[in-house]
Symmetry: C2
Subunit: 405 residues, 2 copies
């Protein structure tokens, strides 16, 4: 996409800008919340004492209980990572053939989990505002092979859960939410994880809440939870009974102990991110061509990400140019999610992957950029990033600046 | 199986025996080697500094290099656990349909990994001496749907690799070794992991070498290793390219750091186990009805387990009775592997699962018992366990002893 012609600062002025506003150290797009090392060492002392390192140990049991309490959900099963949680959930609901309607605007794990279960993904376009599966586009994609909907609460922003459930109920489909981004999000009085048939969380190091690697499945009934617990532990009932083909999806004690300490810090982390998001919004609302997303009334947001949309015509450069230019300032943003999953070679040949079917997702994927956001980021750093964006608005494309690779 | 009538000590004599020889604390069947906590805390200090907690970090890279060096193998890929390693290896070799010939005398993961890849297991009987797939029984099971052999080096004891390879070559089959038990085992001049098309290791906490949870795949070419590295990281090539459907099979930095320290202790651990196995053998060779396994010339054994076979006629009680009786002495043995995988409800209906096809495996599974073995077990404890076994020989069945549940 060629950048439009706009009035723009001279290259010399830009070089001055870089000199003035460049961060001395790279600013990552995210940084994991680290619990106190001393506290973690106390947990380790206990592990060295018990030598119980995995297999539903005491930290695992405590984390399951604490997380359930924090989230306000009844049935939760911990997993070694979020992708395995997706795989296990699909197996638990026996969604292992046919088609599932999902979004192309997601991390590859969502769609790959379908592939590994021999399910054909059917890509559905997304909503302009929420970046989530557009319920108005879902129904036309339902056919005799459809087994389920797999929507994603992208960036922790709730899907239109009522509209999606109404469609699923009408057509007898399961709803499996990829809630990898939605830790701690509440919708009205309830956890967002209580919608649909089950929800999958990711606790990867890059996530708001982390167990180093990790994930969880929140189900609506004890029976489903028990089934998942079998599936993630080889189907073992007792030393002499294996009830079915399960794999190893266990979260170990080192991960659980890390998570328990991080959970204590989560509300502070969310508050810090909320404050930083507030600065971004206040400052960037003033920058032409940068679209920020606002909080939704009735939702307890988690501020897991700070995505902006870059309008190349109004901003004066494309998202890709901005991404590259920010690197000159030592700011690491992320084109999240670009490209769409429907562009991957393994899915591009699917009829639903054709770009004409996904106009909104295509446009968002070309324009979206996630800016640095994490609790230990300083207010002044966010102000500085906003100043850089404001100054770059209307600047010439990155190629014009000498020294860019 | 009813125990045969034999001369046996009076119940009163037995109760005295328990009083005399009972361990004050339970003796587990295994116990993980724990690296120095101080050394692990130094690794943690580094992780707290870099905040790089997973995704091919420096500990992961070091462990890959150190393990490759230790094992003397060129192409090794680390995985989050051994079962995922099996799943990924089957995907890498595109063994995702048809049949694979495997052993029923194994941990459920071996067979479940086939099921998850939509491969029908074909159970083949085992060899009386090695407990491994009997090459003489393999060829009759090969049909037009056969894709591969998946033998297991049970208890780290090498399969008849030459005979199996000759059959595979003759019929154009892949050979995927489940080497979960075979860490560090050498066969002649080479690592046992260098046989077949690839080998899978498990580094679960209960294994000889551990990364808490973990595993690895050893392949024969760089291309295979690279393919597996894609498959275990979502198929991601770079920030904007996904080359195919992969999942998350990553070993995190906390696991890798643990493994690096444990690896330094491995040779000592094997030496300690070798000495303890020597005591077991020397003492138990004298006990009628207890069969111990001896080292094989030309093999560097790893002493991962100490399995015995209990002949109920000569020993005077069944393996199950002995297992229960040992609990009275606070000794936790393990019926490893019992029942056979071919007995699980999910596989029992397969034609190859019929017990008449698996006479050796059926008999071994009824008689095998793994006795406690780990580096920190004391010589005196092994002597005491041997004394208990010697004294129990010819004793009445457990049911005759008052106070047993």
């Amino acid at each position: 996409m060629a950048p439009p012609v706009q009035p723009s600062p001279e290259p010399q002025a830009l070089a001055d800008l870089v000199r003035r506003h460049r961060f001395a150290e790279p600013v990552p797009v995210t940084s994991p919340t680290m619990p106190s090392r001393e506290a973690y060492q106390r947990s380790l002392a206990r592990l060295w004492e018990t030598r119980w390192l995995t297999n539903d140990g005491e930290f695992h049991q405590q984390l399951r209980a604490s997380l359930s309490g924090y989230l306000g959900v009844e049935h939760l099963s911990l997993c070694s990572n979020g992708t395995l949680a997706l795989l296990l959930a699909l197996q638990a609901f026996r969604i292992t053939s046919g088609e599932v309607i999902t979004t192309p605007f997601t991390f590859p794990a969502t769609v790959h989990a379908l592939y590994w279960n021999r399910v054909r993904p059917v890509f559905c376009d997304i909503d302009e505002k929420t970046f989530n599966l557009d319920p108005r586009r879902v129904e036309a994609l339902i056919g005799p092979e459809t087994r389920a909907l797999m929507p994603v609460h992208v960036f922790g922003h709730p899907c239109d859960v009522e509209a999606l459930q109404a469609i699923a109920d009408k057509h007898g489909l399961a709803v499996i939410y990829d809630a990898a981004h939605a830790m701690g999000v509440r919708y009205g009085e309830r956890s967002i994880l209580e919608y649909g048939d089950c929800s999958i969380l990711s606790f990867h190091a890059t996530k708001l809440f982390s167990t180093i690697e990790g994930g969880a499945i929140v189900t609506r009934s004890r029976a489903q939870r028990v089934r998942i617990d079998y599936l993630k532990n080889f189907g073992i009932e007792d030393e002499e009974t294996v009830i079915g083909p399960g794999i190893n999806g266990k979260l170990n004690e080192f991960q659980a102990a890390f998570g328990l300490l991080q959970l204590e810090m989560l509300d502070d982390e969310i508050r810090n991110r909320q404050r930083l998001a507030g600065i971004y919004r206040r400052r960037l609302r003033e920058v032409p061509g940068v679209l920020v997303r606002e909080d939704v009334p009735g939702v307890r947001h988690n501020y897991a990400y700070f995505p902006i949309l870059v309008d190349p015509h109004r901003f004066g450069m494309t998202r890709d140019d901005l991404y590259g230019r920010l690197l000159d300032f030592n700011v690491r943003s992320r084109k999240y999610f670009y490209p769409l999953c429907s562009h991957y070679a393994c899915y591009a040949a699917l009829p639903s992957a054709h770009r004409d079917n996904l106009p909104v997702a295509e446009r968002i994927a070309e324009r979206v950029l996630c800016l640095p956001l994490y609790g230990t980021l300083e207010d002044a750093a966010v102000e500085q990033i906003c100043e850089i964006l404001a100054a770059l608005q209307g600047a010439p494309p990155a190629a014009a600046l000498p020294g860019r690779p």
